[in-house]
Structure formats: structure tokens, C-alpha cells
């Protein structure tokens, strides 16, 4: 079982307590009605789906119930780090080569 560090509970907890909540850092337009169909499609449907590092929202559903962000490698399924919701995308990743 994976252990995922919850930034609110401040410890690693079993994955069964968590839910994935899709890609992180997708900003909703302040003027959503003014968006073109193409821009709305990009915002609503298009996700990066990378092979490698992905920034995701996770929720500690059966713990503190809070949403937070995580950086995960989709190849190894390893969590590189987690951080609180609202915090900016980390500039440097632990153990990353660049």
C-alpha cells in the first residue's frame, strides 16, 4: 500500500484514506461566460496526461477531508512531494535532475 503524506495531518497515511481529484493548477477563468469555445474546451476537457511528473489534486477524504496538491511520477507511481491547496507550484522538486 502506498503511503501519502498529507500536508494538513503532517504525516504519511495509507492510500485507502485518499481520493485522487484530477490535475492541479487549472485556473478557472474569471469571465467564464466570455470564454471562446476553444478556450473553454482547453480549460474543461484537455489535461496534460504526461508520462512522468504530474501535478495533481488529492483529497484526504477519510482523514482530515482536505484537498491538497501532490507531485507524482506516473511511471513509478512515486509521490515526490505534497503541499497545501492554494500554494504555488513548487519551483524545485526533491530529487529531480533539473
Amino acid at each position: 500500500m502506498l503511503l501519502i503524506r498529507c500536508p494538513y495531518c503532517e504525516e504519511e497515511r495509507p492510500e485507502l484514506e485518499f481520493r485522487n481529484a484530477g490535475e492541479a493548477h487549472i485556473a478557472r477563468s474569471a469571465d467564464i461566460a466570455g470564454e471562446s469555445d476553444d478556450d473553454f474546451e482547453k480549460f474543461f476537457f484537455i489535461r496534460s496526461n504526461p508520462k512522468g511528473i504530474i501535478y495533481e489534486r488529492w483529497r484526504h477524504m477519510h482523514g482530515c477531508a482536505r484537498f491538497f496538491n501532490a507531485v507524482r511520477d506516473t511511471v513509478s507511481d512515486k509521490f515526490l512531494m505534497t503541499y497545501k491547496a492554494g500554494e504555488p507550484k513548487p519551483a524545485k522538486l526533491p530529487g529531480a535532475s533539473k
Binding site: 500500500m1 494538513y8 495531518c9 503532517e10 504525516e11 497515511r13 495509507p14 485507502l16 484514506e17 477519510h62 482523514g63 482530515c64 477531508a65 482536505r66
Partner: protein
């Protein structure tokens, strides 16, 4: 006048009969004992940092700020569930909802007394019994006495509180209580074996 009369009628009417789920059920095996605990008053409390002091004063119990901890005083326990969320359990028959009602500071207090059922798991194999369905580390280092957490047991969500080195209080939703008690019964037999 009319208002007073109405109020009197309401107060005099018998309240709905409380039928506790699984009332009084028990199970004993080597090393573990399960017991459905008597009804208690409970609230779900949400409050920002600025309101915590006033609420703690009104409730008469500290609202812990540290994850996975609880505080207890005079039959009332406050369990940290999230950064601004607590479960208050009162076993002394006093209503914590009424205490919160006197607080003007911003907060949300919801009465959930009847929503939950509490089951105690006690004995030297108590941690093993709970661990058969709960993935958390229940060693005394990671989950000491007084530790509290929302977590899962098998397929359902529970709130787990360690009341002693070899005793846990499992809080689950009433409609899940059959499942939880049966699950723990099987776990108890396994843990005893």
C-alpha cells in the same frame, strides 16, 4: 400570549423515543471485548482560528490544534478531525450544542448525537482487532493514548479514538453500525486466535 402557549405545549409533549441501534450488544473473546456504548451527545464543529478560544471556553474543553489529537474534560471530549473541524462527544448528558449557541464568534455547530454509534474495543488484542480493517499504524508510538483520527474500517468511514493503551472507541454512522459491529466481531475472533 399565543406564543407562550405554543411553547408550553411543545415542551410538554413527549420527545420521540430514542431507539439506539445495537443497544447493549457485547462480544467477548480471548484478548478482546466489544461493547456498544450508551448514547452520547455529539456535535460536528467547524470554526476558524479566531473563534476557537471562545468556543473552547463555552464548551469547557480545549479544542486541540495538533493533528490526530484529542482533549478531554469532565465527560466531554474534543477530537481534532481537520484544521478547522472537531467532533465533540459528551458522555455526561449535557448538550454541547446549547453551549455553542451562546457563542457569538463565527462557527458552525451541527448536532449529530443520533447519527453516530460508539463501539468500544478493549483488551490486549484491541489494536490487532481494529487493525484488521483499519490501515493506520496503531502502535503506541504512532497512535498513543488520546490519539484520534477519522479513518476507515473495512469499507466504511469511522472516527477512532484511543482511550487507553489497550482500549479504542470506534465511532461510526448509525446505518453502518451493523456492518462495523459484525466486522469487529469477526476481527475479534481472528485477533483471539
Amino acid at each position: 400570549m399565543a406564543k407562550t402557549a405554543t411553547r408550553k405545549t411543545v415542551a410538554a409533549a413527549p420527545s420521540a423515543e430514542r431507539r439506539a441501534a445495537l443497544a447493549g450488544q457485547e462480544l467477548s473473546a480471548t484478548g478482546v471485548r466489544l461493547a456498544v456504548l450508551p448514547p452520547a451527545e455529539r456535535i460536528s464543529l467547524r470554526a476558524p482560528e479566531a473563534s476557537v478560544a471562545a468556543l473552547a471556553k463555552a464548551l469547557g474543553v480545549t479544542l486541540p490544534r495538533k493533528p490526530k489529537t484529542s482533549a478531554s474534560k469532565a465527560g466531554r471530549t474534543a477530537l481534532w478531525l481537520g484544521p478547522d473541524e472537531w467532533l465533540i462527544i459528551d458522555e455526561a448528558g449535557k448538550d454541547p450544542l446549547a453551549d455553542c449557541a451562546e457563542v457569538t464568534a463565527l462557527h458552525s455547530a451541527v448536532g449529530i448525537s443520533h447519527r453516530n454509534i460508539a463501539i468500544s474495543v478493549t483488551g490486549p488484542a484491541a489494536a490487532a482487532a481494529v487493525n484488521s480493517g483499519c490501515p493506520q499504524d496503531l502502535s503506541l508510538d504512532a497512535f498513543p493514548m488520546g490519539a484520534a483520527s477519522r479513518t476507515i474500517l473495512g469499507k466504511v468511514e469511522i472516527v477512532l479514538l484511543r482511550t487507553a493503551e489497550d482500549a479504542f472507541r470506534v465511532e461510526c454512522w448509525r446505518s453502518f453500525s451493523d456492518y462495523v459491529f459484525t466486522f469487529l466481531s469477526e476481527a475479534t475472533r481472528d485477533a483471539a486466535a
